[in-house]
Amino acid sequence: MDVTTSDVLVEFSVAVQSLGALQAAAYRLIGTATCQIDRIADRWVCTLTPVSGSKKAPQGSAALEIHFLDLVTDENLRERIALRTDSVRNVILSLAFGSLAGSSNNDH
């Protein structure tokens, strides 16, 4: 894997950072930069390569790194929210569309 001068490397500890969140952040980066995620020992290593000509790309390596870190922070937050709320979400969905909804009057 070649690392060009414009590439940015960001590392995370496998112990505290989930792969799913990194992948989701990488997805959001599509069109701005490609992100290759590798595991080296106990670290995730993300190689960000800016897409040339992209209007949305942050200017400069530092800005891209900050942007990616923000995206990862957001995805971690989303994981936490899902953990805390998925069960009540399912309850609400089943109330809305499941058998519990069967007895309701359908004419609103």
Partner: protein, 483 residues
């Protein structure tokens, strides 16, 4: 002796709060948050983490804000959960009225040659590009098989007035069937109005037919987009509009505009043109990437950012007009506002998830082929049959329950799509499998690359800003949204 308890006696006990599902996105220095049914609040980073950790107490202001926004609830409470379920059901109630829109392409013939037209241009004397009576009859069969209690039949082309005889037949037949089938039927003709005459107008009046035409702006702009032998498309369109308004009434005549690169700097002129012609509002919409637009590469000439600049400018100009006392809504904002401010299901088939292809609209082509959407038909003209569902000899059920359609709808659900599933705007947005298939060869599309997505987010962010920053504009926007 009356004994009253202080407010502290009604606070929930410690550790009895529960988090409710919500989504967020970063905004300038804070977070925009939405709950499960799309109500928005803005929170600082600290507020968001406090809510996530349930470090809120009654009386601290944040508890009240979070509770009213359905971000938190009492663990043993029921009302909010039932309320969210109730509202979710309302928002998706459009699914009960499947296929309210039926588009009849009565002819492919047309005497214009607009560069962005998605219909292949056939000259006016080839009647093998007209829909036959038999095809029309079978298409009507299918339309009446759809469960919706109220359907809309829209006549398109080419230029549909070139086959007015068939329109007349279809309208009579539909009205007769509606009476016995206990259905209501509305009719629209989407026409360039160049061929309008007294007989056609009398017919429209007698049968309550709406006329919808295209008006891209003042003469130079409109004629540039719509070349007609004689170069008088604008003159004919405006004459047609006035004539139709005089006979049918202004509320029965509408116009749609298509934004081309030339329009981008002329939004005030376009709006003024609509006002001048006494039209009841305007629908500012971008070009779709199909048919001739693709062939002429017109769609690549402006991107989402360019279009959003155009849109914001136009919307602000229109709000100024409303502030001066004239009621003149922008219809796309109105649609989005209805989604954001109410839970009422909308009849608009192009912005919903599950997508409106097939389920919302069916298109019956002149040759008897049936398509899941108008744009899907246009793709077929270019050889792409992804959205071709079958033929008018098929039944409604077999068309709408076909594996093909279910796969397309199922795979494009925003509720499950990457990025959409976490998007703060998802409840107000929709799937557009045709657009994403046409631009990315995939019904769901990679949303970070999607101009549709960029436009949607841009419009919603703009509307939220306007609702919050200017009380006068907010009052105008709320009235549009409540209409």
């Amino acid at each position: 002796m009356a004994r009253f308890q202080p407010v502290e006696a009604f606070h929930p006990a410690e550790d009895t709060l529960q988090l409710l599902p919500f989504r967020f996105e970063r905004a300038e220095g804070h977070y925009l948050v939405s709950n499960m049914v799309g109500d928005f609040v803005r929170l600082s980073s600290d507020e968001l983490t406090r809510i996530l950790d349930l470090r809120v107490r009654p009386g601290d202001g944040l508890y009240e804000k979070a509770y009213a926004a359905h971000l938190i609830s009492g663990a043993d409470q029921n009302a909010q959960r039932q309320l969210l379920a109730f509202r979710l059901r309302s928002r998706l109630a459009f699914l009960r009225e499947t296929t309210p829109l039926h588009i009849f392409v009565v002819t492919l013939r047309c005497e214009h040659s607009c560069p962005y037209c998605q219909v292949s241009r056939q000259s006016t004397d080839r009647s093998r590009f007209d829909m036959s009576k038999e095809t029309a009859r079978r298409a009507l069969d299918i339309a009446f098989e759809s469960p919706a209690r109220r359907i809309k039949i829209e006549f398109q082309g080419g230029e549909p007035l070139l086959n007015f005889a068939l329109i007349s037949t279809i309208v009579s037949a539909a009205k007769a069937r509606a009476a016995t089938a206990d259905k209501k039927v509305d009719f629209v003709i989407a026409s360039n109005l160049a061929l309008l005459d007294d007989a056609i107008l009398a017919f429209c009046k007698a049968n309550d037919v709406l006329l919808s035409t295209s008006l891209d702006g003042p003469a130079d702009l409109h004629n540039k987009n719509r070349p007609r032998p004689g170069g008088n498309s604008y003159e004919l369109a405006t004459k047609g509009i006035r004539r139709a308004q005089a006979v049918l009434g202004p509320e029965r005549v509408g116009a749609l505009m298509t934004t081309t690169e030339a329009s981008l700097d002329r939004v005030e002129d376009i709006v003024d043109e609509y006002l001048r012609l006494n039209l009841d509002g305007i629908f500012l919409r971008p070009l779709s990437p199909y048919g001739f637009a693709v062939k002429t590469k017109a769609f690549r000439k402006y991107d989402a950012t360019d279009w959003l600049t155009f849109y914001e400018r136009g919307l602000k100009y229109i709000l100024e007009i409303n502030r001066c006392g004239r009621h003149f809504p922008e219809f796309y904002a109105t649609l989005i506002l209805k989604r954001m401010l109410t839970d009422r299901p909308l009849g608009y088939v192009d912005l919903r998830s599950p997508a409106g292809i097939g389920l919302g609209a069916l298109v019956y082509n002149y040759d008897g082929k049936v398509f899941a959407s108008d744009e899907g038909r246009m793709l077929a003209e270019m050889g792409d049959k992804t959205f071709e569902l079958g033929h008018v000899t098929d039944s409604y059920r077999s068309l709408v329950l076909s594996d093909k359609l279910i796969e397309l709808i199922g795979s494009s659900l925003t509720q499950c799509a990457p990025e959409c599933a976490d998007c703060v705007f998802e409840t107000h947005c929709g799937a557009d499998p045709v657009y994403h298939h046409a631009t990315q060869a995939d019904p769901i599309g990679i949303k970070p690359l999607s101009e549709f997505c960029a436009r949607q987010k841009g419009v919603m962010r703009l509307l939220l800003r306007l609702l919050e920053s200017s009380p006068q504009d907010a009052a105008i926007l709320r009235r549009w949204g409540g209409m």
